[in-house]
């Protein structure tokens, strides 16, 4: 579809443009080509929705369970499958990631924007950006080989001492491939984007506000609390939401870490966990026709959730942009 539209505009472009450029110097092949390319971008978004829906429908019709509430995922033999447990795992693991990543990311952003020596700020910021450059499969490998064994003892300790707290509860095996391990790896992966956007917002705080606070005798922390954080709050909120979208869609790292169980449990220290994306990666190999359709249906749910989260985040940022334009 993509290439079709491209060649169409390419063929139609120059012919119409030659007459147009004679009329005015502003017109040319680029106008049609570039408008066409922009429309292709919109078309791709629409096509994603259309084809995910159309390929999911046959599997959904063959489903013998309730797609939204069923916990098991067995489209290949008994044809009973539902998104319930997977959606729960996706939400729990990404919420965990968000809770871990946001405070650290805000600290990193403050460090680079207000604490680090100016000459070092650029290179140190680049160091954090490098975290985002590491491919997700490598985080998965690192999580299984390094993080999972590392977490075993702290998990046991948390379970022994804070076992009354639902998240840390659980009997029998503690540690191993857990929600906690997955959540920490996801947190590392979304930290750079939250830190980068927060940093940009913190750097945009009007210098006058900061200097006014300092001139009134505020310490650096008081200046940050009174001038920087209130100004940056919408930016940090939308950055966290973009991070949430990333965490929910992250696939391969959690596919390697989660043991692919199907159940709803808040226990993040026992070996259980799964997510929509991880299930797609792990289940695709042995999926038949209905199995693939079922995975596409779950991907459609993931697409819709991340789309909503992203749209909300972008709307907050855009409103902020208009506000800042009004200020200057």
């Amino acid at each position: 579809m993509t290439t079709e539209t491209e060649t169409e505009t390419r063929e139609g472009g120059p012919a119409t443009s030659r007459s147009a450029s004679r009329r005015s110097h502003g017109e040319g092949p680029f106008r049609y080509l570039s408008t066409g390319a922009g429309i292709v971008m919109l078309g791709i978004m629409a096509a994603i929705a259309v084809f995910l829906i159309s390929e999911a429908i046959p599997a959904l019709q063959a489903n013998k369970g309730n797609f939204l509430t069923e916990l098991t995922w067995d489209p290949n033999s008994s044809q009973v499958f539902g998104i319930g447990a997977l959606a729960f795992g996706t939400v729990l693991s990404s919420a965990l990631a968000l809770v871990i990543a946001t405070p650290i990311a805000v600290g990193v952003a403050l460090f680079i924007s207000h604490y680090a020596p100016r000459r070092l700020a650029g290179p140190l910021g680049y160091l954090i950006d490098l975290l985002a450059a590491v491919p997700s499969v490598i985080y998965g490998l690192w999580g299984v080989a390094f993080l999972v064994p590392l977490l075993r003892e702290p998990s046991q300790w948390l379970n022994d001492h804070l076992g009354w707290f639902p998240l840390f509860a659980g009997e029998g095996a503690i540690g191993g491939k857990t929600m906690l391990a997955g959540g920490i790896v996801l947190a590392i992966m979304i930290l750079p984007i939250i830190a980068a956007i927060s940093r940009e917002v913190f750097l945009q705080v009007p210098k006058m506000n900061e200097e006014a606070a300092l001139a009134l005798g505020a310490t650096r922390w008081e200046m940050i609390r009174m001038a920087v954080l209130p100004f940056g709050r919408p930016g940090v909120v939308s950055a966290a939401m973009l991070g949430l979208g990333r965490a929910m869609g992250e696939t391969i790292a959690v596919a390697l870490i989660f043991p692919a169980t199907f159940g709803i449990s808040l226990q993040i220290l026992t070996p259980q966990g799964n997510s929509i994306a991880a299930n797609i990666a792990n289940g695709f190999g042995e999926a038949g026709d209905i199995g693939r359709g079922a995975l596409i249906a779950s991907g459609l749910v993931l697409f819709i959730i991340t789309l909503l989260v992203n749209i909300a985040a972008r709307m907050i940022i855009n409103r902020r942009k208009e506000l800042m334009k009004a200020d200057t």
């Binding site: 502003g26 680029f30 971008m41 160091l127 997700s136 991340t306």
Partner: protein, 290 residues
């Protein structure tokens, strides 16, 4: 002047505590990076030899020693090249539309918004889309090209955003000087605007390439697996380096895990090299922009 009050001890301690927390946050963020790089390098060097770079996995079981990732490296290079060929023209033209022709109209605002939203599409969804459209709906086979299409969906918004930023940096004086000489707008874009922004655009494209080169999920759904060398990205399953790492890491044998680490090292070297070259181009170019 004589009555300046000292900052009370409580406020000073609070200030120090926050400073300590901010430094700690930064240190906490760097620890995983160092740990990942250290583990990948120390574990990956064991098998990082000529055999690994020049042999495929054909006829080699999980328990056998030897074998390599030549087929995966070839696959990744071809897939990334193809996805650039798809996404760079579309992305660049979209950026030109947004900067030169859009004028903040309704269409340009819609495109700009959805390009932003598109950056948040999970990579696995891009893979599922190509699976649904290209393989299930059109009945095409799994191939490197299908993977390249999925990667190009992930690349496009990054290319648009970086190219747009670079085009906006081109001073309007240059455009106006060109118009004043009677040059048509499209020739101005082609001969004045694009050459001025060229290095910046190249940097953006390379960063986008580095981002998709490490993507696994879309390849898993569109390229499938193979242990043999397949130089033709248009027919039959291929391999990709990230996919190779995933495949080997999922096997329980030490020999396979070793191969996974070495694959990870190769992948990180490729991605970091792309990043470094991109930053070098940007750095080399930056004084000239001012």
């Amino acid at each position: 002047m004589t009555t300046i009050q000292h900052i009370s001890t409580g406020r000073r301690i609070k200030d120090r505590i926050v400073q300590g927390l901010v430094y700690l946050a930064f240190a906490l963020a760097v620890v995983p990076l160092v740990s990942v790089l250290w583990l990948v390098i120390s574990n990956g060097l064991a098998r990082f030899d000529l055999t690994f770079l020049t042999h495929s996995m054909r006829g080699i079981g999980a328990r056998d020693v030897g074998g390599g990732a030549y087929h995966a490296i070839i696959g990744t290079l071809e897939q990334v090249l193809l996805s650039s060929l798809i996404s760079v023209p579309i992305g660049l033209l979209t950026a030109i539309y947004l900067v030169e022709y859009g004028n903040g109209g309704r269409l340009s605002r819609a495109i700009s918004f959805f390009v932003d939203v598109m950056t948040g599409i999970p990579s696995v969804v891009a893979g599922l889309f190509v699976l649904a459209f290209w393989i299930l709906f059109l009945g095409m086979p799994y191939s490197g090209f299908a993977g390249a299409m999925a990667l190009s969906i992930l690349m496009m918004p990054t290319v648009v955003r970086s190219a747009e930023e670079m085009l906006r940096l081109v001073p309007d004086d240059l455009r106006e000087a060109s118009y004043a000489l009677g040059v048509a707008k499209w020739r101005t874009i082609l001969k004045v605007v694009l050459p001025t922004a060229f290095t910046g655009i190249v940097t953006g494209v390379m960063l986008a390439v580095a981002r998709v080169a490490g993507e696994t999920a879309p390849l898993l759904l569109t390229v499938f697996f193979t242990d043999s060398i397949n130089n033709d990205p248009f027919t039959g399953p291929q391999m990709g380096l990230p996919l190779y790492v995933f495949d080997q890491a999922a096997r329980p044998n030490d020999t396979a895990i070793d191969r996974a680490w070495t694959g990870a090292l190769t992948l990180i070297l490729i991605v970091m090299l792309l990043n470094l070259v991109a930053r070098l181009i940007a750095w080399w170019r930056s004084p000239a922009r001012r």
